[in-house]
């Protein structure tokens, strides 16, 4: 087993990252959610909707803006449900990826839903988990829940743990476990590799993806869970 970390520079994300994703046009977002242009632009200004989610594309009617469907709809839902009790500025601290809680120290990660009791066996110390470490654990737990073997889930944890930059700005970042089989002269070997990078992450044709984790989503879940515990 070995790990490979491929972080591309900040410049080439966004357009490439969303190619294979399901997109939704801005006007359809407004129609489906009932929010106004004013709200959308305000949330963008506050950093509640990341710049990278605004994908400009040429269409028959000229330039149009699209969003990753699931991400934008979930985010708007979150903003709305939290807005009842928090001010916009507080929301930024909870939701926006660039305001990752740096000072977090968590002594019992298994209390956080995204880590949970499954994640307990991935833990490597008794106390004092940082935010990045919690996200790493949550990524591992995510894999365990999908039936991955603990040794492989650990691979994922180590991978994310070592990628601080990715956790701080997780927009469009995926961590995955790939498997490659080599069959040769009567014996076969199966290798599991961990890969971390910006979407679209590609494996060669002879490898298959065993498990895929959207690091951004997991980081968000950890943030929300931290709030609930606090």
């Amino acid at each position: 087993m070995f790990c490979y970390t491929g972080l591309r520079s900040a410049h080439d994300r966004g357009n490439g990252g969303a190619m294979d994703e399901d997109l939704i046009a801005k006007k359809d977002v407004l129609e489906q959610t009932g929010i106004s242009y004013g709200q959308l632009y305000r949330w963008k200004r506050k950093g509640l909707i990341p710049e990278a989610w605004f994908i400009r594309k040429a269409t028959v009617t000229g330039q149009e803006t699209f969003f990753p469907r699931e991400k934008i709809l979930t985010r708007i839902e979150q903003i709305r449900s939290l807005k009842e009790e928090q001010s916009l500025d507080e929301l930024v601290h909870i939701l926006a990826p660039e305001s990752t809680p740096e000072m977090v120290k968590c002594d019992d990660p298994s209390l956080l839903a995204p880590v949970g009791t499954e994640g307990r066996r991935l833990m490597w110390k008794d106390r004092g988990y940082t935010f990045g470490e919690l996200v790493a654990l949550a990524c591992g737990a995510h894999a365990l829940r999908a039936g991955t073997r603990p040794a492989e889930a650990k691979l994922l944890v180590d991978l994310v743990r070592g990628a601080e930059e990715a956790v701080r700005d997780p927009t469009g970042i995926t961590a995955l476990l790939g498997e490659k089989s080599l069959d040769q002269e009567g014996f076969s070997v199966r290798l599991t590799v961990g890969v971390l990078g910006h979407e679209p992450v590609k494996l060669d044709r002879e490898s298959r993806v065993k498990h895929r984790v959207d690091v951004e989503k997991v980081a968000e879940q950890v943030k929300l869970a931290l709030r609930e515990v606090a």
């Binding site: 129609e31 004013g38 200004r45």
Partner: protein
Amino acid sequence: MEGQSISISGSGRVSGGEYGQVRISGSGKVEGDVTAQEIRVSGSGRFQGEVKAKEITVSGAGKFTARVEADVLVTSGSCGIDGDAEVKELRSSGAQRIGGSFHGHYVRVSGVLHVARDLETDVFTSSGRFEIGGLLSADRVEVKLVGDSRAREIGGENIDIRASSGLSFGFSLARGFRLGIGTLTAGEIEGDHIHLEATTADVVRGKTVHIGPGCRIGRVEYMESLEVHPEAEVGERVKR
């Protein structure tokens, strides 16, 4: 926080640091990052390094080669910022140029404003000329056109673009001479309530849209209402 104050009235250079007041009335250069309560440039001042201040006033020529952070920035002379600007309140009656993007709460332009990238603020009012290379985003965009302004994109809640009063004499005449009549050119304009005059845009999208005299719009997409002045050209109208 209350550091010492410096004043350059001849020609001089100081190094960065924490200051109470920085006053440059001659020709001065500040080398390194600066934090100050107040910065006043009435001569020619050059700041090489990041600048953080409560209040910055430039009535002469100010040049900032990196990022600027301030509660208030007032320009009546000429002020150039090569980096990004994080300024709560910007009032420019002179010439203000920002090489990066601008982020703040209130912007008032009565001179010239040039922003290379995005300008994001809660309120944007202009009775001057502006050029925004990226997105102009605000809850309230209120513009009285003087000269030719442009923005790649404008987005917000209320967008209100008015031509100078000369327009009421008949636009066809005014367009021929274009004397003192301002125009706005934008790629895309999106808002909940939009009122446009003397504006050329590829696409306008809004809830309630009013296209006034002198506009040339490629395509209007509206949700609730659309009014088009007889002296406006609209290519396509789509109700969603």
